[in-house]
């Protein structure tokens, strides 16, 4: 049971981070469907840092540099979405989808090239980070504590304060509800939307690096992040674009995702003898059901997905 709690909390942290990222972007008026790709590129940045840092380095420094690497890569990548969707008024769905496919392809090509340059026989797309991973976890009894749980909670509090209690947050949300009205009182809608997308890039990359550090100590980049970016979007919709509700939704989804990792260790679930594939499918099925029940009364920002046209009324 402790193991289930541990995995639930870590997967919930990943989902919370990414969903909060989506929340900033959508409140500014840009649908960020590219979160999945941003997670992959963020994870790549972090994994490369961990791979090439000397093993003797101070643990805190390793954590800091890894996070910086992830955010640097992922945020640069999210700028691709921002420039296309905000400045060139591109279709946000097409660009987001392109970023998802591009993320996995780019990561695979780069990791394979790096692996081959070190050892010509190594054609895998896997990066190992056994040593560096130890710095992210701490054991409390048999419970493995992960620093990303703290980061996720901090991100939640920050998101709540920023969105509802600061001038910046309220202006950001105005741009997602009625950008022309926001512009009429002197808010620069382009700048605000850029800010929204770049912040979502930061959280998306943090989510990406925390996802590949959640259970394993190596990652095969050919697999991307297995639809986790989209699960996070489902969490965001279920949470009705509100940080606190998103946190609760993330816990629920995290529980179902965790089940597939640990169901063998839970007596009555193992006794049911359900094939492991069913547990793998579970998070996706649950999210479909949840979306079906909650999307009807959607509280989505009104102007999301529509490119900003200053001349429109």
């Amino acid at each position: 049971m402790l193991l289930l709690l541990q995995y639930t909390l870590i997967f919930a942290s990943v989902l919370l981070l990414v969903a909060l990222g989506g929340c900033y972007s959508e409140h500014s008026g840009v649908i960020n469907l590219g979160l999945e790709g941003i997670m992959v590129i963020g994870a790549l940045g972090g994994a490369l840092v961990m791979r090439f840092l000397p093993a003797t380095m101070n643990g805190f420094l390793v954590v800091l540099l890894t996070l910086l690497g992830a955010v640097g890569f992922g945020d640069l990548y999210s700028a691709l979405l921002a420039v296309a969707c905000i400045n060139f008024k591109a279709d946000q769905t097409i660009v987001g989808t392109a970023l998802n496919i591009l993320g996995t392809a780019l990561a695979t090509v780069l990791v394979k090239a790096i692996n081959m340059s070190i050892n010509p026989d190594d054609v895998s797309s896997t990066i190992q980070y056994v040593g560096a991973k130890r710095n992210f976890v701490a054991s409390i009894g048999s419970f493995q504590f992960n620093w990303f749980m703290v980061i996720a909670v901090i991100a939640l509090i920050v998101a709540y304060v920023v969105l509802y209690k600061t001038k910046f947050g309220l202006r950001l949300m105005a741009c997602g509800e009625h950008p022309q009205a926001a512009a009429s009182v002197g808010i620069n809608v382009y700048k605000m939307r850029w800010a929204g997308v770049l912040i979502s890039g930061v959280f998306g990359s943090l989510g990406g690096i925390s996802y590949i550090l959640a259970g394993v100590s190596e990652w095969k980049f050919e697999n991307g992040v297995a639809g986790f970016g989209f699960l996070a979007l489902a969490v965001m919709i279920f949470g009705q674009w509100k940080p606190t509700r998103i946190a609760l939704a993330a816990l629920l989804f995290g529980l179902f995702r965790a089940l597939s990792n640990v169901y063998i260790g839970i007596g009555f679930l193992a006794a049911l003898n359900i094939p492991s594939t069913v547990y793998n499918m579970l998070p996706y099925i649950i999210s479909l059901l949840v979306l079906a029940l909650t999307s009807k009364n959607s509280k989505a920002p009104k102007a999301e997905g529509i490119p900003y046209d200053p001349g429109m009324r």
């Binding site: 660009v95 392109a98 591009l102 090509v109 479909l288």
Partner: protein, 379 residues
């Protein structure tokens, strides 16, 4: 009234925009190769572009050209699926999963029940229709974003397929059994097409059939009342409703047809026995995602999609010929993804083209008036 010049036509502008996307996509891919290893980058990008021309013998060229066509047929179906739904304002990213489901049903029907090929195809269409309709129902009645439900169903479809096809796989490997040796009646007939490609037994009925279906979709969208209603729903859902069209059932039917098309694509590939399903697959096959690239690169025109599908498959297969000591075949996925990204800028490119033409016309109009005035002055 002056006749419109070719530069003003929508089709010409789409073609120019698509060509720009291709050139820029290849250029960016080349830059990535340069960053990895400058020495072989030129050869590598040429290997991708040459594909089957990498072989020097004519017979081998024909055979490998055939192989590219074998995979173009399913890609064309996925592209049509994306295109058809996009005309109604829906983004069918679920094509990838519907393709997987089509593959699953056709392989299972062939190996477990030994059904003839045409029955396998009909089953794939039927199941794809239902699978696509789920997305449509969720969209029409529960307001669920079709992109997110599509992605969820992609993963559900992948895991289900792995589970179902484990029943018909080889005992020692993760791959499904060969159709040709276990159920020869389920393999798509070649209609003698194999002779044209130095006896490539995988070149089958699927290729001409895919082109016929493309033409049928074109007619359906442009020449029928049903197609008109669907497009009207896409332009403005509320206006369509106001005009008495059943906008909800239009959404469901559209996504169901999209599902059927993509599933048919899955049947088109796996019923040739060219590829076997790997029952431990941990990622959704890229065919459906490449379909998105092909649909947009083809300017969202069914006939254009035939050429763009061939192009995307050409470079995807071409990726296998890069020098594997420095690069990986995924470079072609990278180029396809870049092309989709660049397709996002097509609207902007067309705007620039239209502005240039308008400026030119304005200028020629002004000079024309000046000449007329001069002539008038002489009198």
């Amino acid at each position: 009234m002056k006749k419109k010049s070719i530069f003003e036509s929508e089709g010409f502008q789409s073609l120019v925009a698509s060509l720009i996307c291709i050139v820029l996509g290849l250029l960016l891919g080349y830059i990535v190769l340069l960053l990895i290893n400058p020495a072989g980058a030129g050869t590598a990008i040429m290997a991708v572009i040459k594909n089957f021309l990498n072989y020097s013998k004519a017979a081998l060229q024909a055979k490998n050209f055939g192989n590219t066509l074998v995979k173009t047929a399913p890609l064309l179906m996925c592209a049509l699926s994306v295109l058809f739904c996009y005309k109604v304002g829906l983004f069918n990213i679920g094509a990838a999963g519907q393709y997987v489901i089509g593959a699953c049903i056709s392989i299972y029907a062939a190996l477990a029940w030994n059904l003839p090929w045409w029955l396998c195809i009909i089953l794939a269409i039927a199941v794809g229709f239902i699978y696509g309709a789920i997305v449509g129902l969720l969209k029409a009645y529960c307001n669920v974003n079709e992109v997110i439900s599509g992605i969820m169903l992609n993963w559900i479809g992948l895991y289900m397929t792995n589970m179902i096809l484990t029943g018909v796989k080889e005992s020692t490997s993760p791959y499904t059994l060969h159709l040709r040796s276990n159920s020869p009646g389920s393999v798509l007939p070649t209609l003698g097409l194999d002779k044209l490609f130095s006896n490539n037994e995988y070149v089958s009925l699927a290729i001409p059939l895919a082109i016929l279906i493309t033409i049928a979709i074109k007619i359906l969208l442009d020449k029928t009342k049903f197609g008109y209603e669907l497009k009207a729903t896409g332009y403005n859902k509320n206006a369509a409703k106001y005009a008495g069209m059943a906008e909800k059932s239009n959404i469901i039917v559209t996504l169901a047809i999209g599902g059927a098309l993509a599933a048919l694509g899955g049947a088109f590939l796996y019923l040739t026995d060219y590829e076997l399903w790997e029952c431990t697959s941990s990622a959704v096959p890229g065919m459906g995602f490449n379909g998105i690239a092909a649909a947009f690169l083809g300017g969202l025109n069914p006939v254009g999609t035939i050429f763009s599908s061939y192009f995307i498959q050409h470079i995807t297969t071409g990726g296998a010929y890069v020098d594997k000591t420095h690069y990986s075949s995924q470079i072609s996925d990278l180029i396809s993804a870049l092309i989709i990204y660049l397709c996002g800028f097509v609207g902007f490119m067309k705007l620039v083209m239209k502005r240039r033409i308008a400026q030119k016309q304005e200028r020629s109009k002004v000079t024309g008036e000046v000449i007329e005035n001069k002539e008038g002055g002489k009198k």
